[in-house]
Amino acid sequence: MEAESRIAIESDADVVTARQRARELAGELELSSTDRTLLATAISEVARNITTYATRGEVTLRIVRDGDGRSGIEVLAVDNGPGIEDIERALQDGFTTGGGLGLGLPGARRLVDEFEIESAPRQGTKVRLVMWSRAADRGVRV
């Protein structure tokens, strides 16, 4: 059941594939329909950032568990693109260098339970998202 799914992101069709794959994987967990949609939307944002800024990269999806037996879906979106000069600014609403609305990264961060980003100029970008299942939630949610 520790499924892992790797999707090469090279075109806008791959962005759709990545979020559909996440939905399938979410079907194995007790993720609510709303959480599945939030996760799919967040994946769409980070995967599009790959096609917009880095041309190509990869999204890896896998089921993860924490010490309390809670399960969730982890998303790694990785590229070797130009990287982000100022992560702080990239996480602010409305900041964009790609002609969009500047909601991609800050929006994705609001959609999921965990959000981490590593990037530096010319070093590529790595974004990690996690959406936890509420089923085994101990009532603590950050």
Binding site: L38, T41, G107
Partner: protein
């Protein structure tokens, strides 16, 4: 055409059937603008019931369609935004206030009818 567009009197109805790639969305925008001109349409309904995700790109593009058609004298109504999708759009921070929305196709048509009634009746 990824999204079929039907003409019903002065109204165009674009029914999205399946998940859209960015290319499909841009194509839809072009098709709608083309058909508004060809049919001199006064209203457009874009039915997004089938969309399980409306990310910032799709939302921005639909908003763009609404703004562009308005500049051509036609009103756009987005219908069928699913509850989870609406939730995600709000979390994402999408501004959609200047776009007309309705619950479903029926409500959307009623909304357009009420708006088109006067100009259509008084038009010469």
């Amino acid at each position: 055409m990824a999204v079929p567009i039907l003409k019903q009197g002065p109204v165009l109805i674009a029914s999205i059937q399946t998940a859209l790639t960015d290319t499909d969305v841009l194509q839809l925008r072009e098709d709608v603008m083309g058909q508004v001109t060809r049919h001199r349409s006064r209203g457009i309904i874009v039915d997004v019931t089938a969309l399980d995700v409306m990310d910032s790109f799709v939302s921005r593009s639909l908003r763009g369609i609404a703004h562009m058609t308005r500049l051509r004298g036609a009103e756009t109504v987005i219908v069928g935004i699913q509850p989870e999708v609406a939730f995600a759009m709000v979390q994402l921070g999408m501004q959609f206030e200047d776009v007309q929305t309705a619950l479903d196709l029926e409500e959307g048509l009623a909304l357009l009818q009420s708006q088109l009634k006067e100009p259509l009746a008084g038009g010469g």
